[in-house]
């Protein structure tokens, strides 16, 4: 029975931090919310979401129709942009008062920083970047699958005490569709902030909304073997109507933004088709293409490790094969096929 597993310090509910950036809800927050709903239904408990920002009432409404029983809303100009210390200050009293059994959030950069700060402040165990959540039979304890060692080994972890905390890797769970007949309750929470609570002030910001490669149906991924010239793989991506990604070293060299990195230090892809060009195939990269349905590897180095992780292996001069492939794809009109 759920009541026997709860410590006195918990009300059994699941608390989800809902992250927004520039007034847009992070997709992973809705994914976490959907998974929280599934876990809560099994345990017969409620789900509380929390959204912080400025003019975020619309986001709260959406979250309430996608799995939250209650959505707490904290609004202030000082919460418009993410600021760890200020966000923590608003969240803390709400977590303390509500005593949730579990606190979940997306493993974004901001989510990770916030979760780590919160865990220290409230003395809670925190499982990082989980790729699966389940309830331990008998005890009702939350089990989180935490990838490590470049993504090749997973540790199934649990927290001691309450609340149990986890950050969830983006792209793992499916969000629930909006359910207009189940609108949930939206509650405003008090926000007592002063400007000095924002300890890192944003002076300048440059953001280019790039494609979310973890959700692309097709992907072309370039590695160091492409040398410094990414125009070939980019052209192939365009011809295929595919997303474009890179292995970490290319981003480290400044040849591509970090948001395009595939692997354990970047994104995992879920594509039906991944064409991997000039990538050597180190473990931390391979973990990023594990969920791709079909992998085609093109590499000039016939002994490249990537060929052990590909369905179709083209061992040959990529600078000759790729232009021919672009021509073949363009000729057949395979884009979007």
């Amino acid at each position: 029975m759920p009541d026997t597993r709860r410590s006195a310090a918990s009300d059994g509910s699941i608390f989800v931090f809902l992250e927004q950036t520039d007034g847009i809800m992070e997709e992973v927050s809705l994914e976490v919310l959907g998974e929280a709903r599934r876990l809560a239904d099994r345990q017969g408990v409620s789900v509380t979401g929390m959204v912080l920002g400025e003019n975020v009432g619309g986001l709260a409404k959406d979250a309430a129709s996608r799995g939250a029983d209650v959505v707490l809303v904290g609004e202030s100009p000082l919460l418009k942009d993410f600021a760890t210390e200020a966000y923590l200050k608003v969240m803390l009293p709400n977590i303390r008062d509500r005593r949730p059994d579990a606190v979940l959030m997306g493993a974004t950069r901001n989510g990770t920083a916030l979760a780590a700060g919160l865990a220290v402040r409230i003395g809670a165990g925190l499982m990082a970047h989980v790729i699966d959540l389940e309830i331990e039979s008998g005890t009702g304890v939350l089990l989180g699958s935490v990838p490590g060692f470049g993504g090749s080994i997973v540790a199934v972890c649990k927290c001691k005490g309450r609340p149990q905390m986890a950050t969830v890797r983006p792209g793992i769970f499916k969000p629930l569709p909006a359910n207009g007949s189940n609108p949930g309750v939206i509650e405003s929470v008090p926000v007592d902030l002063r400007s000095e609570d924002v300890k890192c002030r944003i002076m300048q910001r440059s953001v280019r909304r790039s494609e979310d490669i973890s959700r692309a149906e097709r992907m072309v991924i370039a590695g160091l073997g492409c040398k410094d010239n990414l125009s070939l793989p980019r052209r192939l991506a365009e011809a295929l109507g595919a997303g474009f990604g890179v292995s970490r070293p290319l981003a480290d060299k400044g040849l591509a933004p970090k948001d395009l990195v595939v692997g354990s230090t970047g994104y995992s892809i879920n594509a039906k088709l991944a064409v991997v060009i000039g990538v050597s195939g180190a473990a931390h990269f391979v973990s990023g293409i594990r969920d791709a349905e079909t992998v085609i590897a093109i590499n000039s180095d016939s002994s490249a490790l990537i060929f052990n992780h590909a369905d179709y292996c083209a061992k040959g001069d990529l600078f000759k094969i790729v232009p021919e492939l672009i021509a073949a794809v363009e000729a057949s009109g395979a884009k979007g096929a």
């Binding site: 210390e85 950069r109 990082a128 001691k160 002030r201 970490r248 594990r290 079909t294 093109i298």
Partner: protein, 261 residues
Amino acid sequence: MKSIVCVKVTPKVEQIKFDEARKTVTREGVENEINDADKNALEMALQLKERHGGTVVVLSMGPPSFESHLKLAIAMGADDAILLSDRSFGGADTYATSRVLAAAIKRMAPYDVVLCGEASADGSTEQTPPSIAEWLQVPGIMYANSIELQGNRVLAKKSIAGGYETVEAETPLLASVELGCNSPRFPDFRRKRWAEKEFKLTVWNMQDLGFSPTEVGLGGSLTEVKELRNMSSRKRRGELIGGDSKEVAARLGQIIRSVGG
């Protein structure tokens, strides 16, 4: 100015093997090295020292065998190194690890900046730097790739999803440093010899930091590992596509059409 750089000595991830029968990680014969991102943090600290003077102290937690790695950091240019070493520290999760590191940093106060790598190659939780910032109650700037110092004011450029932000904060502060944001220097040959022969590493144990066994290591951790599982790669066809470039491209085109996506 005084910079403290937290470094982790990690096993080379590609050499780690999973023992299917015992469900454990085999570390025998696996080489250790300073975590890559932590080398970037050290390089950033050394560059700050070159511009503003002061000292760079390297801080790590682990067994006495890590001494040689810390001496390498000294050879790269760090002024001092402290190893937090005690059997009771073993098995720590990020909560217990950050608690011990923060206690050591407090003991080293005053300091201006604490730098850490953005993530470790083995655990990759990215949780330790923001956790230390919370224990220290100092501003935390995560994924910084450059830092400028003007008095007690810091301007840092940091990576965010889709771009970057420039943020301003005041010292003392903690920053996690982005992997690959600079090129860590090689150890200086003469410093290396000095570090190996004459440099004396400072070692602090649990008593030095005033902890009890229930507060550190496995006992002080708030998470526990129930079991380890191998994430074996998905079975792939491994079909070789032969022929000249034109033939290979034509066959790949066919495959792409057949799998759709």
